[in-house]
């Protein structure tokens, strides 16, 4: 459970989510990961450390490079985004059911009015 907490605090930051989204496409070096952001490389390294401690990413040794990749938990975290999206949509559509139900009487009234006019 504590790892889950760490994963969710890690995911609470937009830069870290963007890093995960990038890693979802494949392994990347720190330089590659830092490229899209207007932050320093040390700042990116700090984000990577948080993600690593949360068990979302792992590093590999490749000469002088330390490319990062997503680990299973990271992929699962992405799936959870889909689950959260699903929940938000389901809630919206449950509310929409109520809105639609409340629209029906109006429509009947309108039809009745039209008949009255005729």
């Amino acid at each position: 459970m504590s790892n889950l907490d760490a994963a969710f605090s890690a995911l609470a930051d937009p830069t870290r989510r963007a890093i995960l989204a990038r890693l979802a496409k494949g392994e990347a070096t720190v330089t590659e990961l830092a490229a899209p952001f207007e932050v320093t490389q040390p700042a990116i390294s700090q984000h990577l450390r948080v993600l690593e401690e949360a068990g979302l990413i792992a590093r590999r040794v490749d000469g002088t490079k330390r490319p990062r990749r997503l680990v299973k938990a990271g992929i699962d975290a992405m799936d959870q985004w889909l689950a959260i999206f699903r929940k938000a949509l389901e809630r919206d559509y449950d509310r929409l059911d109520e809105v639609l139900a409340s629209m029906e009487p109006d429509k009947k009234e309108r039809k009745r009015d039209e008949q009255d006019d005729a």
Binding site: L11, R17, A21, W81, A83, I84, L89, Y93, L100, K107
Partner: protein
Amino acid sequence: MSKMTLKTEGDTHVVVTRRFAAPPEALYRAHTEPELIRKWLLGPEGWTMPVCISDARPGGKIRYEWTNSKGGGFHLTGEYRELEPYGRIVHVERMHLPNPTPDNHVETRFDPDGGGTLMTMRMTLPDAQTRAGMLASNMEHGMEASYVRLEGMI
């Protein structure tokens, strides 16, 4: 009860289907008339939509602003592309968090289904990364409410 389906398709699409016990005309109106939209398009509990602009004609502007009691807020802007009453809406939208996200192209269809309607919403994002970001940005909105649910899920 599992009336809704949500799936990713290829690298760039998200497809949602849902059945409703109302005719396509009612669905179309609830998706295009501001006074109806703001009653349901709210996401997690605790959010309201104080600003809802929906100019339902080709090229017409969309602007939804959400807020919660804790002073949180964000907005979405977009434009209508095609409107075929009461069967089909094509629009483009982007979230401002506060920087705008890449455009999400959304086609929403309302097909008669028995006495009700089958809605099919197909979102197209520019690339896989943007799609992941779109799903993630929703998390920002829904996170608080979702913590508890997720812990239950795992």
